[in-house]
Assembly symmetry: C2
Amino acid sequence: MGAKRGPADPARRERIMAATERILLRGGIAALSHRAVAREAGVPLGSTTYYFATLDDLLDAAIRRLSERYALRLHAWGAALGDLSRAGLVEALADLVEALVREDRPALVLSFELSAAAMRRPELRDAALLYAETECEVLRVHTDERTARALSRVLDGLLLHSLAAAVPPTRADITGPLAALLTPGE
Amino acid sequence: MGAKRGPADPARRERIMAATERILLRGGIAALSHRAVAREAGVPLGSTTYYFATLDDLLDAAIRRLSERYALRLHAWGAALGDLSRAGLVEALADLVEALVREDRPALVLSFELSAAAMRRPELRDAALLYAETECEVLRVHTDERTARALSRVLDGLLLHSLAAAVPPTRADITGPLAALLTPGE
DNA sequence: TAAAACTGTGTACTAGGGTACACAGAATTG
DNA sequence: CAATTCTGTGTACCCTAGTACACAGTTTTA
């Protein structure tokens, strides 16, 4: 009945967080439970509550990691861009949208879920805001603050519809609004 | 023990749906349960399962009503607009965004929650799509199809950030992208 | 080395919830 | 009016789940 292993096993905590991420990506916030995580991580139920006393702790930790991963992803995208023209930025952004939808769909879905959840649960607000904040940060390298925020809003609209719509936006549907936004002259 | 009332009581069904709407608006999809609805409607638990065998039936019915209400709202907005210039449409749309955020926040929050939920639950897709579909329908009166869809996407981005952001978009933040989108000339 | 502190686990308590269903009045039908 | 059907309820079964907690090895400390 007692423990089999010795003292602090840092891998345990790690494995639990990784399992939590997988659960969230696969089934969303609604699928998160101590038991599901324990099963996924292959650890006893008690372990999950030992490292993360409450569900919110677990959720917080996992979301923090996921948003960090997303931030890395975006910064990598930003770093890969050289100096480019307006048109070049538009194409690059469209590439980003298409790549995210294609390759990171679960993470995107989760981020929207999180945004919605944060509207009711203030404790999630900071985590949810991180996504948009990161977008702006990366975009600010190529545009001014104001434009970066505007782009972030439009990008989220495009991403949302790319995930949710019956017929997703075409390439032109994506580049159109972005180009309009980046083209000066009222 | 036995029933007290006679035959079909159409008000019952009605009251249960109304209660479901209130639950959803107040606490979101996660707050929905037969028991919560029964409590809210002041009917016994059995009533809710009698009229709506499963939770999904209940959810479907309530969402259908809510999206119909939203459609009415949008159509009313559209009907109140006369023939107007591009600039006039931009201002009207900005008014709409601000009014929705101010006066219909719970319904908006729910619609985003629904969009996110529909990404995982195909049975909710149709209901979730209705919102965007309605937007397009109303906008199509004033613009072409392509522009209507683009506007719908941008509007959703603006609404999302208006609800979620730490500092919501200003009036100029709202009119900017809309004007850009409606101003021809690449 | 004895005691205190820490790391884990197994189990159990409590709450909430979906759904089935037996049953009871009321209405309808023949 | 008897039988059948419909409307509606109360209850109960079974599951999931959060969390507390006693307890057991292990390590550290005095």
